[in-house]
């Protein structure tokens, strides 16, 4: 790991996009997130790392209220997006999810054409006035997701007919197409080859110009490469959260150190 590069990395803003306070998540009796306090900064990439089953995906799904779809799931605490409580009674999760997009752990393209997959979001949110604009969004989104060159000749082909890695990039394009303010990515690269991974990482870096990105990853290298801030989860607790460089070079908690050096898994 290039420690020099890490320590030089700075966070451009200090504006808080999402603030989570004392978040508790229960699946029935399972306590999946305990007292999680996280500040997601605007125009920043935040990485969530931690061993499998420690509650990274669970917490990520709280940020756009996807946990609402799980009937046994209960969320307590406070999560503010632009200082508005997203769990407030007045908040419609549909409106929230248009602002906070998501790429899921398993690729889940719609059983529709590649074009329709990407165009669906802009269509339902009325982002375009005509077909030409829609075409443009589809193309730029597919380009951002590093998929355009592979699919430009077969936009009418089914999205489910692509390879696993291509499907995941299609899902990224679909999420990007609605221009969310925050993009949540749950292990977006776990099915990708190194080249596509590099392309997606480049995309994440580009997205940082306008959005804030939260990425869950099992790859320390990836967290180190793309993120400015890193949160380490363990057994449902947020153990340590800070500048990526500091977490990887000088962790304050012994558990973090054990994990990044490969002793807890």
């Amino acid at each position: 790991m290039n420690d020099m590069r890490l320590t030089e990395r700075t966070v451009d803003t200090t504006e808080i996009k999402i603030a989570a306070r004392k978040v508790q998540v229960y699946y029935g009796a399972t306590h999946a997130n305990k007292d999680v306090d996280v500040d997601i900064l605007d125009k920043t990439v935040t990485a969530f790392i931690g061993p499998s089953g420690c509650g990274k995906s669970t917490f990520l799904r709280c940020l756009n209220r996807m946990n609402d779809t799980i009937s046994v799931c209960r969320v307590e605490g406070e999560i503010l997006l632009d200082s508005e409580d997203i769990y407030d009674k007045k908040v419609d999760p549909v409106q929230l999810r248009a602002k906070v997009g998501m790429v899921f752990q398993k690729p889940n393209p719609f059983p529709k054409s590649i074009y329709d997959n990407v165009a669906y979001g802009p269509k339902i949110h009325g982002l375009t006035k005509n077909k030409a604009e829609l075409d443009e969004i589809v193309e730029s989104s597919l380009r951002k997701a590093a998929l355009w060159n592979e699919v430009k000749d077969r936009l009418d082909a089914p999205g489910t007919g692509l390879s696993g890695g291509q499907q995941q990039r299609l899902c990224i394009a679909r999420a990007v197409a609605t221009s969310p303010e925050v993009l949540l990515m749950d292990e977006p690269c776990s099915a990708l080859d190194p080249i596509a991974t590099a392309q997606v990482e480049e995309l994440i870096d580009e997205l940082r110009e306008n959005f804030s990105v939260v990425i869950v990853t099992h790859s320390m290298q990836q967290a180190a490469r793309v993120s400015q801030r890193t949160a380490f989860f363990h057994l449902g607790n947020l153990v340590e959260f800070g500048e990526t460089g500091q977490i990887f070079t000088n962790p304050s908690d012994p558990r973090t150190e054990s994990y990044i050096t490969g002793r807890i898994g």
Binding site: F110, Y120, P158, A175
Partner: protein, 444 residues
């Protein structure tokens, strides 16, 4: 230098005992499966041959074709061609005219002898024929005084003779027909006065009384069944699909919805005759709707079909992968958009299959219809919808039941014929289901 490791006595070329056991189990299962399929196919073949064997002859019918002189002096005594006064002449008057015509024709051909009287000759013609002649004349009074070529239904026994059901021996014991009459019919056929041809009347005509099996048709029953199917389709499909979507996608999970779910499953298992009792009590006795009407029949069948459609639709909705729903919700689609844009299209083939199975079940249902009076003898066609929904009508399966209840053996053939018509409709519906499913099913 390379060296090949020698295998430790377990060569891949030799099947080991475990693999042998697995293969034997698989071979056994294949045999069970094939036996089950063969049994099903055999049963189907048996059913079809029995229905077709006895029923196909219902689609052919013997007709007598003779010139009939429509004597104005007999049929229009006042002579002013006023249909109202002409209507006073009953079918008895027309029967005489037919008998006269028959005797005249047979005498001319030299077929009459002392063994067949004029009455016997007239008896070759169906008792339904005078009514048909009368209708023809009343509809068109100018025919009076002319001679028309009239195609009359032959008597059921004569028809049976040409279909092999009635023999000379059985006729000797039969008070309705004599061997001499059958010989005459045979000679008439040789001379072309009597012919066997396709029986449109069986498909389009109304039912006929016990004594006239040759005139009995399915027209009213087919119309009645069609009207009821329209009802079931228009009511049960939207209601069932809407209820399922609500229960599956929107309803909160609580005691109350659990209770509803249990009730729906139970309703699907309720014997159909119970729905008939319910229909009788609620729609006829309480609601005051007319008996024997396709409206009540349709409502009862709708109630009966709803649980089937709901269960099939819910199963189809459940089978849609949750990841697709998550994907749609994740980019900010509302619940309704998610359901209508993504879930419903994927569930469509399953929903259609369920709906058509439900409809086919409703089409073949007899018991509840017996209770709401559709077993009644109905000869008048129901009017065109919507008024026709309130007119009395029959239904195909009930017609089959009615035919089998009658004494004259000619009705056995009619009953099987009606079963064939019913099977053709069911086949057409299943075909439609397959076609629709192919169109909606996009496997990608």
């Amino acid at each position: 230098m390379t060296m090949h490791a020698t295998n430790m006595g377990n060569s891949l070329y030799k099947t080991d005992p475990l693999t042998k056991r697995l293969n034997a189990a698989e071979a056994r299962f294949r045999i069970y499966g094939m036996a089950a399929v063969a049994f099903g196919v055999l049963a189907l073949v048996g059913l079809l041959t029995s229905a077709l064997g006895t029923g196909v002859s219902a689609f052919r019918q013997t007709f007598v074709e003779i010139p009939v002189m429509l004597d104005a002096a007999v049929l229009d005594k006042s002579g002013n061609r006023n249909p109202e006064e002409m209507a006073k002449i009953t079918t008895i008057g027309y029967a005489k005219v037919l008998e006269t015509a028959m005797v005249a024709e047979l005498t001319e051909r030299g077929l009459l002898n002392d063994r067949v009287s004029a009455k016997d000759a007239g008896g070759l013609i169906s008792k339904e024929a005078p009514a048909q002649l009368r209708n023809m004349v009343l509809a068109n009074p100018e025919l009076l005084g002319t001679t028309v070529e009239f195609r009359a239904l032959a008597n059921g026994r004569v028809d049976g003779f040409f279909k092999g059901r009635v023999t000379m021996e059985s006729a000797a014991l039969d008070s309705n027909i004599s061997p001499a009459q059958l010989e005459l019919a045979q000679k008439m056929r040789e001379l072309g006065l009597l012919s066997v041809s396709f029986n449109w009347g069986f498909i389009t005509g109304p039912d006929a009384s016990e004594l006239r099996p040759e005139a009995a048709g399915l027209g009213v029953a087919i119309l009645g069944s069609l009207y009821m199917m329209i009802f079931v389709l228009v009511l049960a499909l939207p209601l069932g699909v809407a209820a399922s979507i609500y229960l599956e996608e929107f309803a909160p999970q609580n005691r109350f919805t659990d209770l509803i779910e249990v009730n729906i499953s139970n309703l699907a298992a309720v014997p159909s005759i119970v729905f008939g009792i319910l229909g009788l009590a609620v729609f006829i006795n309480f609601g005051g709707l007319p008996q024997s009407s396709p409206l009540v029949g349709g409502l009862v069948l709708t109630l009966m079909t709803l649980p089937t459609i709901i269960i099939a639709t819910r199963a189809a909705l459940k089978a849609v992968p949750p990841s697709i729903k998550d994907a749609a919700l994740g980019i900010g689609a509302s619940k309704t958009q998610t359901v209508f844009h993504h879930v419903l299209p994927l569930a469509m083939p399953g929903i259609l299959t369920g709906a058509i199975i439900g409809l086919a079940q409703a089409l073949g249902e007899t018991a509840p219809l017996l209770l709401i009076g559709m077993v009644a003898f109905v000869r008048d066609y129901p009017a065109a919808p919507p008024e026709g929904f309130l007119d009395p009508a029959a239904a195909l399966p009930v017609q089959v039941y009615n035919f089998t209840q009658r004494a004259d053996p000619a009705f056995i053939e009619r009953a099987s014929g009606a079963i064939i018509v019913l099977l053709v409709f069911l086949l057409a519906m299943n075909l439609l289901a397959i076609i629709l499913r192919r169109r909606f099913e996009r496997r990608w």
